[in-house]
């Protein structure tokens, strides 16, 4: 058995060595942002704790609310966020973006803390409203020279992953201790939101 295991690893090492010898074309010029665009799009939503916490809060709240909110909120958020991103891209000014982002963390955190159960439409409107601020901030911060399509796809996928992370964490809601932990997470997000607001107003 150990012989087979060592054979497996030897073959993997050989394959990796083979791939390393595989020649790839030398590129004298900077790529036109294809792969770089996707990767930077993927990284962008993770670059700010305010965005990360708000998006995770959406997932947590969705998990607390159950179906259909668990999928409706994460579907609403990227679509409206993209609208906000488009506004930012085309240069439409939106006042108080940072304040809006900070308020999103406070309110969404508070919703998770309180296990609030408003009507589905109201929850979607609340999430959608704040998504505009997040999207706008991302839209105005887009680095130049990137592939628009791949950047956009990476950006949206990363946002979806953050929501998915929130929903996955929110699965602990089925246990009493998990419910408590979720409410604690909501309190933490809301508190962090207060610090973001402090910074935005300072």
């Amino acid at each position: 058995m150990s012989c087979s295991r060592s054979t497996t690893w030897t073959s993997i090492v050989y394959v990796m060595a083979l791939f390393l010898t595989w020649s790839s074309p030398a590129l004298a010029h900077v790529e036109q942002g294809q792969a770089a665009g996707f990767v930077s799009g993927l990284q962008h939503p993770w670059s700010g704790l305010d965005h990360v916490l708000a998006m995770i809060a959406v997932g947590l709240w969705g998990a607390q609310l159950g179906t259909p909110a668990v999928w409706l909120l994460p579907v609403t958020f990227p679509m409206v966020m993209a609208f906000g991103g488009t506004l930012g891209l085309v240069g439409v000014k939106l006042p108080g973006v940072e304040i809006g982002i900070a308020l999103s963390a406070i309110l969404l955190g508070a919703m998770v803390l309180a296990e609030a159960r408003p009507k589905l439409v109201l929850a979607a409107i609340l999430v959608g409203f704040f998504a505009i601020f997040h999207g706008h901030a991302h839209g105005t911060e887009l680095p130049p020279g990137q592939s628009g399509l791949l950047y956009s796809m990476g950006f949206v996928i990363a946002t979806g992953i953050l929501h998915g992370l929130g929903i996955t964490l929110g699965l602990v809601h089925r246990w009493p201790a998990g419910k408590l932990a979720l409410r604690g997470a909501g309190a933490f997000i809301a508190l962090m939101g207060v610090t973001f607001l402090w910074r935005a107003l300072a």
Binding site: M1, S4, R5, T8, S11, I12, V15, M16, F19, L20, W22, S24, P25, L27, E31, Q34, A35, W71, P74, V75, P78, M79, M81, A82, F83, G85, T86, L87, G88, L89, V90, G91, G139, L142, G148, L149, L150, Y151, S152, M153, F155, V156, I157, T159, G160
Partner: protein, 204 residues
């Protein structure tokens, strides 16, 4: 010993697959030259052009959401329309400056996300329109490269992709699985919206 071999054959395959991901390669979106002829160039062109690939997959998903009959029609009509559009595109000298992929993403992503009902005839018209428009762009791009044979390669790949995407969706029984498809649609819509903003920003 034999059992260990059998159990770990899959693991070995996965590890070799991961090792293969270490292989460095460069990304290229247009006029891919595989060295294996124009048909393969066309196949690779579609697979490496996210503007077309995502739109095709989104159409396949939507056709699947609308049922087997719609899926079957789409998988035959889309490649034909794409080919006709490609021939037309290769015959003209105009390069379209319209944000076609962004609009396709918006329409198809929106339809998938909303799981909006459309009669089979309307989906058929949509598939033909998408095929003609995207095919036209491909025709312009492939005119000096893979040409008509490249378009044939694209047709083959289109048929395979739409068949797979729509068949997967038709076979989904669990509600959450259909919701996952709709989430993918919302991501496509969002990407389209951002692309449109990007296009407007560049046009400015």
């Amino acid at each position: 010993m034999k059992v260990w071999h059998t159990r770990h054959a899959g693991l070995e395959g996965v590890l070799v697959g991961i090792a293969s991901l270490c292989c460095p390669s460069s990304a290229a979106a247009h006029l891919v030259t595989t060295g294996m002829g124009p048909v393969y160039d066309g196949i690779c062109h579609l697979l490496l052009t996210p503007e077309d690939l995502v739109a095709v997959l989104a159409l396949g998903l939507y056709a699947g959401l609308r049922g087997a009959i719609t899926g079957r029609r789409t998988m035959f009509l889309l490649p034909v329309a794409w080919f006709i559009g490609g021939i037309a595109g290769s015959a003209v000298k105009v390069v379209p400056s319209f944000p076609i992929p962004a609009l396709s993403f918006l329409v198809l992503g929106g339809l998938v996300a909303a799981d909006l009902y459309m009669p089979t005839a309307a989906v058929t018209v949509l598939a033909i329109a998408i095929g003609l428009v995207h095919g036209f762009s491909n025709g312009v791009a492939l005119k000096e490269g893979a040409g008509t044979l490249g378009l044939m390669g694209i047709m083959i790949m289109l048929f395979i992709l739409v068949t797979l995407a729509s068949a997967v969706v038709v076979s989904l029984n669990k509600p959450w699985a259909r919701i996952a498809v709709r989430v993918a649609g919302s991501w496509t819509f969002a990407s389209g919206l951002l692309m449109l903003g990007w296009f407007i920003r560049i046009a400015k």
